[in-house]
Symmetry: C2
Subunit: 326 residues, 2 copies
């Protein structure tokens, strides 16, 4: 670690931080937070609306991205999957005429085989995630938003598409009309997540710079989560995934345009609405600070584009200081 | 091909041969037959009692061994699986704490992923096997004995073990007491197999030198198969899997001893009983010919140990000549 922050700088003793994360963008900030906070101090709850069954494998893209990132095993060249990955299975599968549109590396397949097997044996997704994290050396608690299956459906100009069909197979080309989270009404929020939200150790909730519609909203829509976020005395801080009108990663800006929203940090803040106590925007978007502040949300201007590990740690530290100041 | 046999030597025009096969030993003779007979002339029906679900994958060891062997893709060093195989998935799975007792190579996993997916979509095992064979360039029809699942259970001094647990995990160490083929009573024989057995094109049935108890018996016990074999006018010829009192491959001799049978070619002939019109034994066992012949079964003495491709082709040719002479 090159940065010189100490966890004691930003969080009071005995206090804990909850990060809500989707995939890549969220994982970057989660990694930064994990370098400042101990496993006792930081819990990460992750979107599972992207999860799907493919080739009989239960695949949890966001959980895996965060897990691989925290393990230092993420593939930075591809931006997804594992470093040093190989493609022996998928190459052979293609030769046999099988589906290869979802790129599964050999080591990644091992993760999905293990997860699927343990789930079939009756273990919860939480328990399976704990086992995988332990094997990969991830010490910070990583929680699925729910142990119940939720399936994000993208309603588009090409009809209803399951999320991975929209995201990977169609490469986000269809124009988005809206989203549906199948199973969300009956999904129970993960118990440790709710205990943390309802307890008095919570110092801050950090909504990572993930896609508001398909990464963060599913977490917020699990019954009980939004109410618990409203009820907690801890500040709820979001970091904008939109910088200078574009998304650092993924289709957030494109979705906003298709949903007739301005592609701006301010529009993201408005989307989260009264859930937020604070909002971190990039220096590029400083001129939006006043408008956001008028809605009663504290604003912190920071360098939010995370290119290096130091960027991740500095943004995490800035976010924690902001939370402490609210 | 080094040998100089012509298919016209051994089989009349318009006639067809059916081979019944288990895994490795059977696949060797099936390969020899495939070099002498055209895809129109040779059909191979394969044991599926060894099939099992593992890590959510439907694995058909005997079908795959025959398929990989006919494709020239079998791993001759290991004696199973694919040549040039790699172990990336299984290595990672082991690091994650998953089950690795059943050695699945990366390319082999692709076969199982494709098969499992196509079966889940409602295709029959026959149709799936056709697709896999087509992709691998296997032109000879390869049929599962049934499209219905049959599960071989080995009753042993360590209790009831599913076949692969006995065979791979326990490495055949438990002493065998008997066998059970779960689902066999309601399994329907594969339709092309029955059409061939019931038709007038059949020139010979060759029971390959596979384990009589766990490779051939499951095929014979699929309802209707044994009766059809008795009813056909074509000669039914078995090639002994026992040579000089030992099995060339696998636990046949050990099983015979544990079942209080002599480990001899003659005992295999007796096991098949009145199903046989002819029995091919090795030169080593020539002294058993008379005893076998006394039971009314024609005997051919041949070089049955198949070390090279030429050995396979020569034994296949000898078996076809024997059938033609009966």
């Amino acid at each position: 670690m090159g940065a010189s922050f100490e966890s004691s700088e930003s969080i009071a003793p005995g206090k804990r931080v909850l990060a809500l994360s989707g995939g890549v963008g969220g994982a970057k900030l989660a990694l930064g937070l994990s370098r400042l906070l101990t496993p006792r101090q930081l819990t990460i709850a992750c979107n599972t609306g992207d999860d799907f069954e493919h080739l009989g494998l239960r695949i949890c893209p966001d959980l895996d991205t965060v897990m691989y990132t925290l393990a230092g095993r993420n593939n930075t060249e591809l931006g997804w999957g594992l470093a040093g990955e190989s493609w022996r299975v998928l190459d052979s599968l293609g030769q046999l005429g099988g589906d290869t549109w979802f790129r599964l590396g050999d080591m990644d397949i091992a993760t999905h085989l293990a997860r699927s097997e343990w789930l079939r044996r009756g273990e919860s997704l939480s328990a399976v995630t704990r086992r995988l994290c332990a094997a990969l050396g991830v010490a910070h608690p990583l929680l699925p938003m729910s142990d119940d299956a939720v399936g994000t459906v993208v309603h588009s100009d090409q009809g209803a598409l399951s999320f991975q069909h929209y995201f990977v197979r169609e490469q986000c080309r269809p124009a988005v009309r809206g989203f549906e989270f199948q199973g969300i009404e009956t999904a129970r929020p993960q118990s440790e997540l709710m205990a943390l939200l309802g307890g008095d150790e919570l110092a801050a909730v950090v909504i990572c710079p993930s896609n508001p519609f398909v990464s963060v909203d599913p977490i917020l829509k699990v019954p009980g989560v939004r109410a618990a976020l409203r009820a907690t005395r801890a500040p709820v801080i979001a970091v904008s995934p939109i910088v200078g009108g574009i998304a650092i990663k993924g289709p957030t800006a494109k979705m906003m345009a298709e949903l007739d929203m301005p592609s701006s940090a301010a529009a993201v803040a408005e989307h989260y609405g009264d859930l937020l106590d604070g909002f971190v925007i990039d220096e590029t978007d400083a001129e939006q600070a006043e408008a956001i502040a008028r809605s009663g949300v504290a604003v912190r201007i920071a360098q939010t584009v995370m290119k290096t590990l130091d960027d991740r740690i500095m943004l995490a530290a800035e976010t924690l200081r902001f939370a402490a100041a609210i």
